[in-house]
């Protein structure tokens, strides 16, 4: 089952929320290549949204080459690594880093101290056996 959560009071159009969440799940590997996505009807009923919302999200994902349709068989995740371009990857990470920097500033951590902390955390994660997923080359 595809776990998604749409929030109508967020303001962001629901089809975009859907698009971004599926894109993210593909990027992080939670949705594996060639795995099947629910049908428009199924997903609309599961999320209690207008079917056209799902149609629009699927259409844009298909145009972006992230999913493909097989006639009579359904909709599947395309294989091809992270769906994000280098530029998008940069933007996504930059957003997180910006938030981190702001928070760091409030807590008296400058960039150097944050980088040290980042290395430590990365070391801990590796030690715990959370293998890195492997970035985009």
């Amino acid at each position: 089952m595809l776990h998604l959560s749409l929030n109508a009071s967020d303001g962001l159009p629901l089809y975009l929320q859907l698009l971004q969440q599926i894109k993210h799940q593909i990027a992080t590997g939670r949705l594996a290549p060639d795995s099947e996505l629910p049908s428009v009807r199924q997903l609309a009923q599961q999320l209690v949204v207008n079917p056209n919302t799902v149609v629009r999200a699927y259409r844009e994902l298909e145009m972006a080459g992230l999913i493909y349709k097989k006639r009579g068989a359904g909709t599947f995740v395309a294989s091809g690594g992270t769906p994000y371009t280098n530029e998008e990857c940069r933007r996504i990470l930059a957003e997180r880093i910006e938030a981190l920097l702001v928070e760091g500033r409030h807590l008296g951590y400058d960039a150097e101290r944050l980088i040290t902390l980042l290395r430590e955390c990365d070391g801990d994660m590796r030690a715990d056996g959370h293998a890195s997923v492997g970035g985009k080359s």
Binding site: L6, A8, S9, D10, G11, L12, P13, L14, V40, R41, A44, Q45, V48, V49, N50, P51, N52, R56
Partner: protein
């Protein structure tokens, strides 16, 4: 957008004594789509519904439902409509199964198998009396009675008002299934804007009997922007700008809702000498509130 119109309302006006309930209302609901009617209590939504059902005759203007005038051809129109009224006025002394048999008698197309499947799905006890069931069960019973003759058009007047979150979700799921599985046209009124945002293809906002906004949900979302702006010097009143629907704030920081092309309204705001701090897409609820309060403010200052 080529679907045929299932409902056409043109210049419909309705007065009760001195009060204008509907003021030259025009709108169109197309086949296989969900039409959301939003407005405050007393805005005219129920009055409009009653015209669609033929229980009110247009004083002026025109109403066509599934190709007919509901007041001229009530039998054939009503046979094709499933209707749930806001007050869910079902006879309190009847048992659910009696109510089913009673309602079935009015509809030649009644599908008893379908009705029984819904009973099960809604977890309704057929032997329970209407007066003993909960509000949520009452709403579901009303919906079942409206759907069992598989009408091409479903009219729901505030289907989830006064219900808990679980029952609301169940009712909404039926609306979605109705459209997704059976291609039904649905018109529903609601003051719960997040529900409308979830399920409606098209939206009409009614305020004091007037349609203040009527478009597809996508177009409404695309044409409204919410921005946080900062002035160099404090201002007491937000300056009049093109496309500004609503502004709220004091001093230097203001929150603004604009309508129109995003790049154009951004340029218009810059022309007022503000810095844009934040930009986002407003929810339908925010659009509605800004339209209504914006209208009030204009009225007050006029």
């Amino acid at each position: 957008m080529s679907e045929r119109a299932v409902i056409t309302v043109r210049d419909l006006t309705c007065r009760f004594k001195n009060k204008v309930a509907l003021d030259s209302v025009s709108l169109e609901a197309r086949a296989g789509r969900v039409f959301g009617l939003v407005g405050e209590n007393g805005a005219g939504k129920t009055t409009l519904m009653k015209h669609l059902l033929g229980s009110l005759t247009p004083q002026s203007g025109e109403v066509r439902v599934l190709g007919s005038e509901p007041t001229r051809d009530p039998v054939s129109v009503l046979a094709k409509i499933g209707y749930v009224s806001e007050d869910r006025d079902l006879p309190r002394w009847m048992r659910i199964n009696e109510l089913l048999r009673y309602t079935a008698a009015f509809f030649p197309d009644w599908d008893q198998t379908y009705a029984e499947a819904m009973l099960e799905q809604f977890n309704l006890d057929p032997t329970a009396r209407v007066r003993n069931i909960s509000r949520g069960e009452l709403a579901k019973a009303g919906l079942l009675l409206a759907l069992a003759h598989r009408p091409p058009l479903l009219l729901l007047d505030e289907p989830s008002s006064g219900l808990d979150a679980v029952s609301r979700r169940e009712i909404l799921a039926v609306v979605v299934r109705s459209v997704a599985e059976e291609g039904r046209t649905v018109v529903f009124s609601s003051h719960l804007l997040d529900e409308v945002e979830r399920v409606a293809d098209d939206v009409a906002m009614i305020h004091h009997g007037k349609v203040v906004l009527n478009d597809s949900m996508d177009a409404i979302k695309a044409a409204h922007q919410r921005r946080i702006v900062r002035f160099a010097e404090p201002v007491n009143v937000f300056p009049k700008g093109d496309g500004v629907v609503f502004a709220e704030g004091e001093g230097r920081d203001w929150s603004v809702i604009t309508h129109g092309d995003a790049a154009e309204s951004r340029a218009n705001l810059h022309a007022l000498g503000v810095e844009i701090l934040e930009e986002s897409s407003p929810s339908l609820e925010t659009v509605f509130v800004s339209r209504v309060t914006g209208a009030r403010a204009t009225k007050a200052s006029a």
